[in-house]
Amino acid sequence: MIEMESSLLSFAKASEKETSVLIQVKDVDIYYGENHAVRQVNMPIHERSITALIGPSGCGKSTFIRTINRMNDLIPTARCEGHIDYHGINILSPKVDVVKLRKEIGMVFQQPNPFPKTISENIQLPLKFAGVRNKRKLKDVTEQCLKQVTLWDEVKDRLDRSATGLSGGQQQRLCIARALALKPGVILLDEPTSALDPVSTAKIEELLLQLKKDYTIVIVTHNMQQAARIADYTAFFYQGELVEFGTTKKLFTQPEKKDTADYIAGRFG
């Protein structure tokens, strides 16, 4: 078992360096109606690094990540208590302008969700809404974003074709490109590769390792190997609680809690 874990870690970052904390989560509780879905979460999210949230299905990891850009506001029964501090502002405060917040903290979902529009419109839509009118600028940003996700060479001749004609992996990279267009500070990814094949998954993982040079990334994954391969920090959720948080290396080699050890050893979940 130990051997397997260390082989997982051969992918992980050798250059682990301390980075400053960008988001501080303090005593967060999330309820769906009567159901106390997430309990007392405290954790930091470090700048320009990848933080993975792992745990078995229904452990609250997706619920938690959707709180960071207030996507849970869409669910009428969802309620959230506690603090998530970002640049000194409590994201969870009702005074926060969620539209502005989501420009700053972008999100990519499990199911690739390109809009049924052309490839370039998919990227330009948020820009146009943000008030960019200059055609030259729109074109440049489109190209730049598509290059960042290594999609440019594949689609540069069909930017005016429908985005729904792309393969699943291409669609997901387009969705990431779209989230990058507004130059957010943080990108949240909710199981971004679970609907994709292994080759597309590998491409996205490589991409995330590139992106963390400029962006802070939080990723939910049910795939421990994925967390081990790309994440700098890992948080293990179980039954609505944050069981353990630490550097990926520490969490996978010297877990402090028994549940964590059992989960990463594949004994449940």
Partner: protein, 295 residues
């Protein structure tokens, strides 16, 4: 019984039902067209009807049908689509919303003769618009509006949830997400609903008997001033539509060629609905392609 046999039986029953459906439709269409096509001529389409002599046409009735349809659609589509968006996107689930929704359903299934009587009492008598294009279009609005609300709401609800989340997660406002992402995505299904309802409006007679009337003034197709009493565009003149014409010729006509006129009108009505469907579909496909890009 083995599952294979069950499967065969189910398949046969489904095919049988499909055959009955197609057969009925083909028979009905074939009958109407075969009976009527011979009476259709350029002259029939472009000459006014005659009250008691043979050889009358349906020019005015055809125009009235189209005109009432257009006015009804102008009244119902914008309000209906907005109402549907409200119910699908903004209305909070609760007693009031479900009350509104059941009102919409009841309104959509009202018998059209009842709508006609209501239209007569309100638009014709109370507002004093007499038998007119406007009264007719408003009566049709009463039962077409809920249909449009319904198809719009269904169109929005059938969209995958992640489309909406995708828009909001990009920092778009709710309204902007609706306008730029959800409405274009729901457009094909809304259009189909509008086409179907337009067919119903075009063929409606009972609701128009007492609202648009059974007569048409002598229309002067060179006078397009909407306020002139004999202008085709005048909204306050009575307007017998094609389907009302079929009914009135058959029940109380004294012209010698009743059968010819009735059959011809029926065929024209059916052909118009078919053409209208084809045309709307073609336009819809074009708009959809423009909105979503080529595949």
């Amino acid at each position: 019984m083995s599952s294979k046999v069950t499967n065969r039986i189910a398949l046969s029953v489904i095919i049988l039902c499909a055959c009955i459906l197609v057969g009925t439709l083909a028979a009905l269409l074939g009958y109407i067209l075969v009976q009527g096509v011979t009476s259709i001529s350029w002259d029939f389409l472009t000459s006014p009807s005659s009250p008691f002599m043979a050889g009358g046409g349906i020019k005015d009735q055809l125009w009235n049908s189209l005109y009432v349809l257009i006015i009804t659609m102008i009244l119902t589509v914008p309000i209906g689509v907005c109402g549907g968006i409200y119910l699908a996107e903004y209305a909070r689930p609760g007693k009031l919303t479900s009350f509104i929704r059941s009102c919409v359903e009841v309104l959509a299934s009202l018998p059209s003769i009842v709508v006609g009587m209501f239209g007569m009492l309100i638009f014709v008598n109370y507002f004093g618009w007499r038998y007119s294009v406007l009264s007719g279009a408003l009566a049709l609005t009463v039962f077409n509006l809920p249909v449009i609300v319904r198809v719009t709401e269904d169109g929005f609800r059938s969209l995958p949830r992640h489309q909406k989340e995708g828009g909001l997660a990009l920092g778009l406002t709710h309204w902007h997400t609706i306008k730029t992402i959800l409405l274009p995505a729901a457009f094909p299904s809304i259009l189909t609903g509008i086409i179907l309802s337009a067919g119903r409006v075009f063929g409606e007679s009972a609701a128009l008997l007492f609202t648009a009337g059974l007569t048409t003034p002598n229309l002067d197709f060179t006078n397009w001033n909407p306020s002139a009493p004999n202008s085709p565009l005048n909204m306050f003149r009575s307007a017998e539509t094609l389907s009302v014409h079929i009914w009135s010729v058959n029940t109380s006509g004294i012209i010698p060629d009743i059968e010819k006129v009735a059959n011809g009108s029926a065929a024209v009505l059916v052909i118009c609905v078919l053409l209208f469907n084809l045309f709307a579909r073609a336009v819809g496909k074009m708009i959809n392609q423009k909105l979503s890009g080529r595949h």
